[in-house]
């Protein structure tokens, strides 16, 4: 029930935020922030009653009772569909990330939403609710539902409050994810049908479907359905082209949520569903998947370098970073998987922060074009320093979270395929190139004469506080990632055990 409440709080909070607009223009954002914090506090208070999180019991994938939390209620018994939510280490991590970044997202759009604030914050909260659902749903029908429904408020956020080219971007985003979602729906239903014809029972429960027996060919096709849906969201090369547009056009909070959280649903889906449901097929496919990952790493980095739009550059860097996640997942060993999970968390913070900086610049300069910037450090040293921090984080400076993630991925990948690792490592170099050019074009270099005397306002209290949270998080992840690793470890271990048992001849 806790999990249902978590989602309900956000849903109702959204309604409340919308209504609160009638109280005052600025009310909705406060309401939204409070709602998210309440949700977070509620989750933490419920967790505090649990056995120490660092000694999580290894959840047996097909035995819900071993999970941290489990909730099941009948919904559409005719098809064996139930409201089944469950929480294990990885979902918990993702849920925490979602809530923290959600609060940050609210803060990031504190001042730049001018119209319909109530509806905006409502959409934001509903998106978060959908994402929480995705991370917790273990009924495949319910999962699909959340998967699709979270897009609608996100769509509105881009379409209504986005920048100049928002219509195109929102449409592209929605069509890409919906069309690929259709494939997942087909694959889900096919899987259920296979299970139905084998057992005579309809069931959408993850736990029932895990050990569905099917022919190699069937498994391959179904796996592909899931895979495509997830890598479109991830996004992986060559399905990434919606991302630069969506990220660039979304309002700051939208970009933060997109990059910080929504992309992770794709990675989560791969770890939770695409591989465990079809272990053999996934392993057969791993080379292709990893090749796509490597291609994404390099391709994203090369394209990021060419961009003149601040947000677009960051968006392409996401493509590059998420390539590492794909690599980590399909290397499918503990090191690489831990790396992938780390990357999900660390990238969430580093990219969210960069998008916030982009948003702040847009708010101040009314442009994202870096050719119009230059030498901003002079007028806004604090923002410059903060930007520098996140830039070096994103290029993988050891001591910060992203490094731990990328290194673990590479380490795990090396054991599987050294040559691919070598190519992926190019991402470290190309990553440095685009990251630094970002700093150079915006904050360093000759100050743009047009901006002189504009009275640009440096980061102040609220912004610095938000940034500080993320900085501390990244440093913590970089120097002592163990809590995160420990949370994910039992889950990953049991997934690995399960797939290795199944893969035995």
């Amino acid at each position: 029930m806790v999990m249902v409440n978590l989602i309900l709080i956000l849903l109702l909070g959204g309604v409340l935020a919308m209504l609160s607009e009638s109280v005052s223009e600025n009310m909705p954002r406060r309401v939204a922030l409070v709602v998210i914090l309440v949700d977070l506090a509620y989750l933490l208070s419920e967790l505090s009653g649990m056995p120490s999180l660092t000694q999580l019991q290894a959840p047996v994938p097909d035995d819900p009772s071993t999970w941290l939390m489990h909730f099941k209620a009948q919904w559409i018994p005719a098809f064996g569909i139930s409201i089944e939510l469950a929480l294990d280490g990885i979902s918990l991590l993702m849920v925490l990330l979602t809530l923290v970044l959600g609060a940050i997202a609210v803060s990031s759009s504190w001042t730049d939403i001018m119209v319909k604030q109530g509806f905006f914050e409502a959409n934001l909260l509903w998106t978060l609710a959908g994402v929480l659902g995705v991370f917790m749903a273990l009924d495949l029908f319910l999962f699909f539902l959340f998967w699709e429904v979270m897009l609608i408020p996100m769509y509105f956020m881009i379409a209504i409050w986005g920048h100049e080219n928002r219509g195109y971007a929102a449409m592209k985003f929605f069509i890409f994810t919906q069309a690929s979602g259709l494939l997942m729906l087909v694959a889900t239903l096919a899987l259920v049908t296979v299970n139905h014809s084998a057992t005579g029972e309809w069931s959408f429960s993850y736990f029932d479907l895990l050990n569905t027996a099917m022919t190699e060919q069937t498994a391959h096709w179904l796996m592909l359905g899931f895979f495509i849906a997830f890598v479109v969201k991830l996004p992986a090369f060559p399905f990434h082209t919606w991302l630069p547009d969506a990220h660039t056009q979304a309002p700051t909070a939208g970009s933060v949520i997109l990059a910080g959280i929504l992309l992770k649903t794709g990675a989560y889906g791969l770890i939770r569903f695409a591989v465990p449901l079809f272990p053999d097929a996934a392993m057969d496919f791993s080379f292709t998947a990893m090749a796509l990952g490597v291609a994404g790493v390099v391709y994203g980095a090369v394209l990021a370098f060419a961009q003149t739009d601040f947000k677009r550059l960051v968006a392409y860097s996401s493509v590059s970073h998420m390539g590492f996640v794909l690599l980590g997942v399909y290397a499918w060993n503990e090191l690489a998987l831990q790396g992938a999970v780390m990357q999900m968390v660390a990238h969430g913070f580093s990219t969210a922060a960069l998008f916030m900086i982009a948003g702040s610049l847009q708010e101040r300069l009314h442009t994202r074009d870096m050719r119009e910037m230059g030498g901003l450090w002079q007028q806004m040293p604090r923002m410059g320093a903060v930007a520098m921090f996140f830039v070096v984080a994103s290029l993988g400076l050891p001591g910060l979270g992203n490094f731990v993630a990328e290194f673990l991925v590479l380490l795990g990948l090396f054991q599987v395929n050294p040559w691919m690792t070598a190519v992926a490592a190019l991402g470290l170099i190309t990553g440095a190139i685009y990251s630094l050019i970002l700093m150079q074009r915006s904050f360093q270099g000759e100050p743009n004469p047009k901006l002189q005397g504009h009275g640009l306002v440096d980061f102040a209290g609220r912004e610095m506080l938000t940034m500080a949270v993320m900085m501390v998080a990244l440093i913590g992840l970089g120097l002592y990632p163990q809590p995160v690793l420990d949370m994910a470890q039992p889950v990953l271990q049991s997934l690995l055990d399960m797939t290795s048992v199944e893969m035995m001849p």
Partner: protein, 615 residues
Amino acid sequence: MVDMIWLVPLIPLLSSILLMLGSATLPRVLIGLLGVCSVGAAAVLTLLVGLEFLANPQPFQLTLWTWMQVGDFSPGIAFYFDGLTLVMMSVITGVGFLIHLFSTEFMEEDASYARYFAYLNMFVAAMLMLVMAENLLLLYLGWEGVGVCSYLLVGFWYQNSANGQAARKAFVVTRIGDTAMALGLLLLFTELGTLDIQAMMGAADQQWQVGDRLPLIACLLLLGGAVGKSAQLPLHTWLPDAMAGPTPVSALIHAATMVTAGVYLIARTNGLFLLAPTAMMIVALVGLATLLMAAFTALMQSDIKRILAYSTISQIGYMFLALGVGAWTAGIFHLMTHAFFKALLFLGSGAIIHYLHHEHDIFKMGGLRSKMPVTFWSFMIGSAALAALPMTSGFFSKDQILLQAYMLPEAGPWLWLGGLLGALLTAIYSFRLVFVVFFGEAKTQPDGDTGWRMALPLVLLCGLAMVGGYFIIPVAEVFPAASTEHPAHWVEYVSISVPLIGLLLSYLIFHSGQLNVDRLVNSSLGQSLRRFWFSGWGIDWLYDRVFVRPYYRLSGTMLNEPIDAIYGLIVAINQTFNHWLAVSQTGRIRWYVASMVFGLILVLTLALQIPAEAL
């Protein structure tokens, strides 16, 4: 006391953070104090720890916490302390302290005083992490940390995009090496199951035979990192450009400490390199090639800092040569002495630049001997040590390297000869600098000579550059024992005399003018050689054509997302269908009826596909 070594990097780090947070509010005096004293405190701590260690030279390690644990992979935030560490720490904190002190005066008028010291302190902290790391991953942390600090400091005056360009070049070029090194780490962990340096070398010893393929690959990957950081061929191009940073930065990072990290890395993992003789030979050859290339180039430069930069590249080449021939101790010894005299030279040049209104061209200086006596003597001593004139610190270290190189079977004498040629060139270009800048007629007027905060470090470094050669570094336990054989005496005499010949030549050419080389220089061959050497053997040009521009072009042409074209095509196809179908909706009944008739025929045709057996 030894348990406190974690404080050594922590103090500068904290100071750095404090400076960043308080950059806008702290008074300048406090900023300077904080910056200098933190390093000073680190130096004192190092001294205390060092004394204790010397009394009881037992290597020890200290684990603060486990960095991350994933399966068998559990690198710690852990320090390892032995003689080598001590030497490095002493150099870093000692020289670092002097340079910080120097900086308080050098940077006095800069608006971003606090930012400068914050970066500089952070650098010291990162460098300390590098040398104190117990495992390669932590070493990598320090390694990248110093890289970032170097980037920040080279591009310190960010308003000039040339500086930013230089800073990015420094970072990216070294990052190429770092990536190789990272791959080396992956290989080592995958094969040996640990990144703890000592344990790893032990495991390597057991698992691998001398001459195996895997240690060779691993060593070459590590070497990749080392040549990047230490500005050796082929990744040296960043260092001359990195002179864009403030001069004390060049002294600290690009002469005394960071650039020698590659030397440290190879020395630290000597157990691995010993398993791969081919790699050792490559190290030696890289060193030799670099030292000659850089020496020739230094001879042609006119920018005082570029001369010193190439000279640094060249000197590190010597260190690599030493490592390659197995003269571990000599290599590290040269590292230390080089830190002294090169820091001295850089700080001296800093003083000149500071008081000469940021003039860099040596041919616009001249006659500074009387105007800036402290600086002059610093340069005299520094150059003497650089040229390895007898009894200076450089003499002892370089001499050892050359002699041990000579002892190497087969290739030894050739390496020695190459090293000698380098020594000759070194003497020529270092005294060329002295003669041109300090003798002859005065072309510009300095604002005065150094204040005490500049003078004190110079004087102290002068002393170190003179007597550093008599230090005994406590690294006997770290490295395998060197052979005690000595080459024939004539070899030694030749080695000693070559720098003197160089000095003489330099005097004749650049001071007394008795040896006129104009004709030689102005001949067409001389001209093209000159240009070739001046450009650093055209390597920058080559890289620009082969890597930089193609990358720009590649990313430029892909700017508009080639992949999106595929999706664009899908959209276009759908639009085409839409268009033609919409056109078909003519609005006329007759046409609609025709469509129905067509449909009827279609349906009839399909429905009448009756299987033959039914007919």
